[in-house]
């Protein structure tokens, strides 16, 4: 839990560089960012601006070279890989651009995956899976395999998988990048619902200005820093 008025997410002096062809290419050289609990932030910016790097660091998949990264009471910059993996399992959900569902598992089995990391009985897992599939409008499609679903339906399974363990934070990496406009809008409505009704904190990386309109505010990243911040209407 965040204490008092402290922001839910706090990045301070974040540095990150990648070695490419023997040369260190800096991505961030002292990035600062705070996000309160319950916010819905769209992160936009051109390719190479560091959007994915930021998301990966927030997900604990990547680690900053310097600076501090705190989410809730967890200091991700000080945690080892196994601890970050365990933290991910209990505190956040990820929605991928290409859904990343396991094709040989049914929709329900895909959604159940994060619950396998928790000490729940089979019945408890089944009830939770049914509930979230109902929430994303896929009730009755539990036994369907991803290959037989549309892109929009697959992404809704991806969202159900991200929220099934009831995390406080959702990270979405171009969640509508592979969808047509109609499906994209459905998915974005879903995310807005999760933010407004279930008070999930959502950080969404996107190239789509229309998608960004669904967020409470939009951050523009350029050359490793935020150059603009505005609240959506």
């Amino acid at each position: 839990m965040t204490q008092g008025n402290e922001p839910y997410i706090a990045l301070s002096g974040i540095k990150k560089a990648y070695r490419i062809g023997g040369e260190m290419i800096p991505i961030f050289s002292g990035l600062d960012l705070t996000i309160p609990r319950g916010d819905f932030v769209a992160v936009m910016g051109p390719s190479g601006s560091g959007k994915s790097t930021l998301l990966n660091m927030l997900a604990g998949i990547d680690r900053p070279d310097g600076g501090t990264l705190r989410i809730g009471t967890s200091h991700l910059d000080q945690m080892g890989e196994a601890a970050r993996a365990a933290w991910r399992a209990h505190n956040m959900g990820i929605v991928f651009q290409f859904y990343n569902l396991l094709p040989m598992l049914t929709a329900a089995e895909n959604v159940e995956l994060p619950l396998l990391l928790k000490p729940l009985t089979r019945k408890e897992r089944r009830l939770r899976v049914e509930r979230v599939l109902d929430l994303v409008g896929l009730s009755g499609r539990e036994k369907q395999y991803p290959a037989l679903m549309s892109g929009g339906q697959q992404q809704r399974v991806g969202i159900a998988r991200a929220i099934v363990s009831d995390p406080g934070l959702l990270l979405c990496d171009e969640p509508t990048g592979d969808l047509d406009r109609k499906s994209a809008d459905e998915v974005l409505e879903m995310l807005r619902f999760l933010n407004r009704q279930l008070e999930k904190t959502i950080i969404m990386v996107t190239h789509d200005p229309q998608a960004a309109l669904y967020a409470r505010r939009t951050l523009h990243l350029d050359k490793g820093d935020f150059i603009e911040e505005k609240r959506a209407a």
């Binding site: 990966n56 998949i61 196994a82 993996a85 990343n100 569902l101 094709p103 040989m104 396998l116 990496d173």
Partner: protein, 403 residues
């Protein structure tokens, strides 16, 4: 009973299940890995069953209660010669020699010679060199595990042979048949069974008849003696040491055949193991390739579940178990094929005395176990490296890839 399975076990089970379920996507390369393991298993099982069958045939032929006396400083019947004077000296000894005596006090013994003879096989008409053993009438009864299966034993001095069951089948030697061996015709008087041992590869006849037919008058190559017990061999050896006309050696029949089988079985294994191991290296490389392809095929899936919080161990186990399961499938196919192809397969080799010795390949449980373990080792070793590759996948790159 625990209510919750540990989350680690569940993660591993999910990874294993997803890997195995995705096998049809890599049907050809997975089948080729399983088949290469099956081939290795077949080759090794083939050689080991050959060695085992050869050992079984010779082990069944020797008894620890029968002494074989050889003369002339050799340890094989082929070069052995025992002068008649030595046999007379032994016969004349009245004390305890460790050898059973008959009701008349005579030693229970059989003087024997072995003559290589050529015979034509019924199946392909090819000529084979067989052992015609001339022996005293007591010869068959001295041996353990030998029984007449048809007809009767050869008569003293008659041109009659009794034939091992195995040879009778192979050469079409029925009771009463007349067969030309050397320059004379012999009548088949009986068949004998020796539980598949090397004896069944021999033709037995009266000693004097063989000596006269092959101009070996007076020759004795070995003397078989029925001991009062296995421990009596030492007493016999001590007695023979007192006879100084010619160097004599007494060994138990079991040791004689074991020494013969040991050399040939070692030779078979000497060829079998390196060949199987070389093939195993090739199969392990194939397994490595298959599993690398499997990891590459599932890059996005592995990265996705690890991003959800699944452990590196589960990713490792998923890939590793897949390799072991494929190897196990190959082992099963290889063992079943080995059993069907090799077990009971009739084979032959040049045995002692430069004559043909028939034996059956024996796919025994230890042959299956050894071959199976080698096959599994291919999966265990060949799958380990790709499994390590699976846990070192760069998640950041994989997650931006279309699954």
């Amino acid at each position: 009973m625990p209510i919750f399975m540990s989350t680690h076990s569940r993660q591993a089970l999910v990874m294993i299940r997803t890997n195995l379920s995705s096998l049809p996507r890599r049907r050809a390369i997975s089948a080729s890995m399983a088949l290469s393991v099956a081939l290795v298993v077949c080759v090794l099982a083939g050689f080991l069953s050959m060695a085992k069958g050869f050992e079984t045939a010779l082990a069944g032929a020797g008894s620890p209660s029968v002494a074989v006396v050889l003369g002339g400083g050799t340890n094989q019947e082929a070069g052995s010669d025992i002068p008649a004077a030595v046999i007379r000296t032994l016969d004349a000894m009245t004390g305890d020699l460790g050898v059973i005596r008959d009701a008349g006090g005579k030693l229970l013994a059989s003087r024997e010679i072995v003559v290589p003879v050529d015979m034509r096989q019924v199946t392909d008409g090819a000529s084979r060199t067989l052992a015609l053993r001339g022996m005293d009438l007591a010869g068959p009864s001295i041996r353990d595990g030998v029984a007449l299966s048809a007809g009767r034993i050869f008569a003293s001095g008659a041109l009659e042979i009794v034939v091992g069951d195995r040879l009778a089948d192979e050469f079409g030697l029925g009771l009463g048949d007349v067969v030309r061996i050397g320059a004379v015709d012999w009548t088949v008087a009986g068949h004998f069974s020796a539980h598949g041992s090397a004896f069944e590869s021999e033709l037995w006849a009266d000693l004097d008849a063989v000596r006269s037919a092959f101009d070996r008058q007076g020759q004795v190559q070995s003397l078989k003696l029925r001991l009062t017990g296995p421990a009596s061999l030492t007493l016999l050896q001590d007695t023979l040491a007192t006879i100084t006309q010619v160097p004599l050696a007494a060994v138990s029949e079991a040791d004689l055949y074991a020494a013969q089988s040991g050399r040939t079985a070692s030779l078979i294994r000497l060829f079998g193991w390196p060949l199987a191991l070389l093939m195993a290296v090739g199969a392990a490389a194939g397994a490595l390739n298959t599993m690398m392809s499997s990891v590459s095929d599932r890059t996005v899936e592995i990265a996705a579940v690890r991003a959800l919080g699944f452990s590196r161990l589960s990713a490792f186990l998923g890939t590793w178990i897949e390799a072991i399961v494929l190897a196990a499938a190959g082992v099963a196919v290889g063992l079943i094929a080995s059993w069907l192809i090799f077990n009971g397969w009739q084979a032959s080799t040049i045995g002692a005395n430069n004559v043909r010795m028939a034996f059956q390949l024996a796919v025994t449980p230890d042959v299956l176990l050894t071959s199976g373990l080698l096959g599994l080792a291919i999966g265990i070793l060949g799958g380990a490296l790709p499994a390590i590759a699976a846990i070192r996948l760069p998640l950041t790159a994989a997650l931006r890839t279309r699954g």
